[in-house]
């Protein structure tokens, strides 16, 4: 890594650390109905929405009611998206005249967008009409993120409230998250991106004359406004198929930096929303520190192994032939022009599948961020990462998308791990475990374990079934790398990440239906149990927090929480990982390639 890389990393974490606490406090304020300087402008809009929808904003929902609202709203969103996709050929705003996708693809896509996964089994600009893009990308990008924020806030209230029945009002949370959080941030962010030369137009395409004299149709559109919500909402579904690697979707190093910040901004700020709600800023910093620590470890690991490249590349460079032609018989992306220093043949940076304008580090950093948060946008080909690079990306997702994680889902997922940590180790201080004074008993443990177990089921289950079933024929690569591709696909779906490893043809009924099931279980298998936990915690009478309480702030707890996250995550997935990226890495060292 170069000094510039360290500088970028420090700058990134520094800005995140500075921006998150005030934003977190702001989110707490608006979601709890407090007034801000935006209210004179947006307050009437908010009231209008409630009046139009017939919502009583003062009503407090029990966890059951809250969950029912989440499910009802999501189901409605699913029906809308599925309907629009199935009838896009007859619906307006279809200038290219795209036919309707197959029902399984439409189902998969609708599930993908309502679950904030943005797994794309289709090629964006070549399959979907403008109306489909607007409903799927624009509308769902906003509301699925807002649902995440709402449920996160309900869980935060569960921890913070004492002897309460309710967890807040889902409808007001949803509306306020959209109006006061996502919308203003999007406006500012989109303008910043446009300043970097990102495209923002209602035109569909223009024609250019290439240097060779051929004419080329270049797709454009309202990119900047889409990109900012895809990042802020940790959605990840790209306007273009090439996602963040496309020059119009990510023109410069600065736009790349802004996008990376946008991915982590809300999940990071929500940690401080929790800290504000429970009036324990030190607890928030501890949790944030754990997230930042695991993130840093991942980023440094990927960067290290990407800089080191593979022995095959080093040999190829030494022999003077282009590395990629030797290294990748099964690579699906076009080899990027490599600008590698030829000085040390023993270690050649792995530029395969990366954009030259970002280089190794910005690509490694982006890959870490997009898999830590359940974003799934990419600015490089994950399939072309070194095995350890791919391993880190996989592990980041398998930990449960809690290293900052998805908008909202990251924090409530982290609360699940905090509860498990408190329960596992809390007894060691000689008291029955409690989290911030709330006793952790059978009910909390049952549903926390369910939230841990449910995403693992489709992840491991479908990988296993596909490995002996529909998987091999869809694979471009054999052996360990092929296995990693399958594992990555189901990991990405089950953890609602949405990024693709590539190298896998996923638009088939088998993949569409199983990944859709995985996305649903991964989303609601965590969300609903955590709402039960929140309901149970809210009703508890807190015991006072004293010196004898299990400390949930400070270094010891940070270390403990990190260990539980790593051990519980690693122990579940280590067998699978050892047959994928780990063995691939070891084989690579012996010169065996796929």
């Amino acid at each position: 890594m170069t000094p510039r890389d360290y500088l970028q990393l420090a700058l990134f974490l520094g800005i995140l650390a500075l921006a998150s606490p005030p934003l977190g406090r702001y989110i707490h304020r608006v979601l709890e109905g407090g007034r801000t300087w935006l209210h004179p402008l947006l307050g009437p809009v908010e009231r209008l929405i409630y009046a139009a929808a017939g919502v009583d904003p003062t009503r407090d929902h029990t966890w059951q009611r809250y969950a029912a609202c989440v499910l009802g709203f999501t189901l409605a969103g699913f029906c809308l998206t599925f309907g629009v996709l199935m009838f896009q050929d007859v619906l307006p705003l279809n200038p290219q005249g795209f036919p309707a996708p197959s029902w399984d693809l439409a189902l998969n896509t609708a599930v993908s967008f309502v679950t904030n996964t943005n797994w794309q089994a289709y090629g964006g600009e070549a399959t979907m009409s403008h109306l489909s893009q607007m409903v799927a990308l624009t509308y769902q990008n906003f509301v699925s993120a807002a649902v995440g924020i709402a449920v996160c806030m309900a869980v935060v209230r569960g921890v913070a409230r004492a002897e309460a029945q309710g967890l807040g009002n889902f409808w007001t949370d949803l509306v306020r998250a959209n109006l006061y959080v996502l919308l203003p941030l999007c406006v500012v962010g989109a303008l910043a991106l446009v300043s970097q030369g990102m495209v923002q137009t209602f035109a569909a395409s223009f024609t250019a004359l290439t240097p060779e004299g051929a004419t080329q149709t270049i797709a454009v559109g309202p990119v900047a406004s889409q990109v900012i919500i895809k990042m802020l909402g940790t959605n990840g579904g790209g306007f273009f198929n090439a996602n963040g690697a496309h020059p119009f979707e990510n023109p410069t190093a600065v736009s790349n930096f802004i996008q990376m910040l946008a991915i982590f901004l809300l999940p990071s700020a929500l940690v401080f929303t929790l800290g504000t709600a429970v009036r324990r800023p030190r607890h928030a910093w501890t949790v944030w520190g754990v997230m930042a620590g695991v993130f840093l470890a991942g980023a440094l690991l990927i960067a290290h192994f990407e800089y080191r490249g593979t022995p095959a590349m080093a040999q190829a460079v030494a022999a003077g032939s282009p590395a990629t032609s030797v290294a990748a018989p099964g690579v699906t992306s076009p080899p990027a022009p490599a600008s590698m220093p030829a000085s040390t043949p023993s270690s050649v940076p792995n530029m395969e599948g990366k954009e030259v304008r970002f280089g190794i580090f910005s690509s490694a950093l982006f890959a870490t961020i997009t898999t830590d948060a359940s974003c799934g946008a990419v600015n490089a080909m994950h399939d072309s990462l070194t095995p350890i690079g791919g391993l880190v990306a996989l592990v980041n997702m398998q930990l449960g998308e809690i290293i900052f994680g998805g908008v909202g889902s990251g924090l409530y997922g982290m609360v699940l791990f905090i509860i498990l940590t408190v329960f596992l180790a809390g007894l060691m201080v000689g008291r029955t475990p409690d989290y911030l004074g709330k006793r952790i008993e059978g009910r909390e443990v049952t549903w926390s374990v369910a939230a841990l177990l449910l995403p693992a089921m489709p992840l491991l289950g479908f990988t296993a079934l596909s490995a002996v079933g529909w998987g091999p024929e869809a694979l471009a690569n054999a052996g360990a790398h092929g296995f990693s591709e399958l594992l990555y696909a189901y990991t990405s779906a089950s953890q609602n990440n949405g990024s693709a490893f590539g190298g896998l043809t996923v638009n088939s009924p088998a993949f569409n239906l199983t990944t859709a099931a995985a996305m649903l279980i991964g989303r609601f298998g965590v969300m609903l149990p955590m709402l039960v936990v929140a309901g149970s915690l809210a009703a508890r009478r807190p015991r006072p927090i004293t010196d004898a309480s299990f400390p949930v702030e400070g270094g010891t707890f940070a270390l403990l929480l990190t260990s539980v996250i790593i051990i519980v995550g690693a122990l579940t997935y280590l067998p699978a990982l050892s047959l994928g990226p780990i063995v691939e890495h070891l084989q690579m060292l012996e010169g065996l390639l796929f």
Binding site: L427, M428, V445, S549, L571, L574, L586
Partner: protein
Amino acid sequence: MKRNRTQSHAPSMYRRATADAFRKLNPRLLARNPVMFVVGAGSLLTTVAFLHDLVLHGWSARAAFGGQISLWLWATVLFANFAEALAEGRGKAQADTLRNARRDTPAFRLRDGGTTEEVSASALVPADLVVVEAGQVIPADGTVVEGAAAVDESAITGESAPVVRESGGDRSAVTGGTTVLSDRLVIRVTQEPGKSFLDRMIALVEGAERQKTPNEIALNILLAGLTIVFLLAVVTLKPFALFHGVNVGVVVLIALLVCLIPTTIGGLLAAIGIAGMDRLLRRNVLAMSGRAVEAAGDVDVLLLDKTGTITLGNRMAADFMPLPGVERAAMIRAALQASSGDETPEGRSIVDLARAQGGEATLPASPGEVQRIPFTAQTRMSGIDLPDEQLRKGATDAVLAWADSLGLPGIAERRAEAQRLADVIATDGGTPLVVASTKVGVLGVIHLKDVVKPGMRDRFERIRAMGIRTVMITGDNRLTAKAIAAEAGVDDYLAEAKPEDKLHLIVDMQKGGRLVAMSGDGTNDAPALAQSDVGLVMNTGTQAAREAGNMIDLDSDPTKLIEIVEIGKQLLITRGALTTFSVANDVAKYFAIIPAIFVASLPQLGALDVMGLTSPESAVLSAVIFNALIIVALIPLALRGVRYRPRSTAHALRTNLLVYGLGGLVAPFVGIKCIDLLITALGLV
């Protein structure tokens, strides 16, 4: 003298536990422990695989491997059963002793006419009146309604010194199975047939009524959840391997599963809980439920009665303070005379102190000339009437009023001076006792002092280190209470407390989310005992109090509350430490088994074999053997409990994490390697 309650290392106990370990293989019993049930099912499967192999292919290296794995898996279940049986064994031995005391004794039931009829003790019903003479066994639990007697309660408490039981007051409860040594008692039966204290005690120590505590239930759920997670990880490994063209055998997969699921804590969890109750029992405390022991560890506030718990129980004379103009010797003599017939502890302490300070007093030889005036609640003073003089000592206002009535000169100044001295004493936490005579009027003030039991300050220091607040409850006035609280080192006090104040205090604290422990013995205490989270009742207490509490101290030592809290904490820490150890163990087992499974077809995975084990078979077998033996190795720790030292929470957490977390991570690497070397040397694989 204390009888040794349990011989923990008696060979008979091990024999019994071993037999029980096999008996507990019963699937219905095993199903209560999800982790061990999975191990049991796995053992059965590997055994079937082994037999299948043996029948089809005869004896081979493969069969030998399968056979050994099956053997060690069964051993894992048996070791866990053994741990539980051993923990139960101590209670069972105790129950046997108690059963001997529950012989069906004859009872003499009092009939309306005042005559008695002999009936069987089991025929007694509540409200029956029975007569028990010296040398007879009390046939049922009850309340003494007539008489007083020395009772030998050693059958229950193990304490051979007899105790006094008498009608009225807080010493009226008697327990069936104990023996009257002297005198005669009439007892009203309070128990339903077959539900005596002894019956309950037998059931409790035997563990027949053992129910899982809330925390144990939650932990069981977590362990079951982890078991499912690992089941998923292992089951999916089969198709994963098939993708790579590797067919993994069922024996190896089951071995991996058993190594990964939390067998260590799963096997020892029940034993830890039973051992916790047993540790209480060995300190002569009977917990009515495991929940009470767990709550003891959680206690935030200890309510302690001043008298008998913090102080020795009786005020002792500490100083004589004569008024100006009164000779010290004269005052001492007057105090000595006024107390000469006083058999109360205070009176005796005045006599002792006066003698120690050279006081002498002679009383007229003929008893007829001396009239002793006993203390009553109305007069609030006592004294003596001599032929030529009357002497009084007692509460300040009472004695001063009496002195006023004598009409001696200069009374006003003396009165003011006496009042001043009394206030000084009260401020200091003492009790003033004014002495006056008909000849002189007010002579001076005796300083009676509460004596704080030795070592209390240190104990409260320890309790504070655990993060627990102590509150002293006393009927004394605020000044006195404050001074004693400061001397004893308690955090807070409740002065001028009436029984209902105690109840209100507990309710208030519980509203704030605190758990409260208290001890008590009187009927007055019953509501507060019932309301508290841990209510420790003295065995000498009334029947009502014994019903209200959830722990009974057979030694009737209220300071034991502190030990009980420590035992509760120790139980929870032991549970947490072994859970952490068990989960941390898994890392090493992965590194042993995963490379072993795949090294033949994916040789590069051999790099994960950081322990450098001899062969794939020895690796798997070593992991399984380690997994089984670690249960045995930790049985003593589970039964004895992790050593508990009161210290700051953060410090305790760091130490335990280092020992059981890091230790749990490292220990199996060393252990598995050693076992691997050993079984290789023995040629077992």
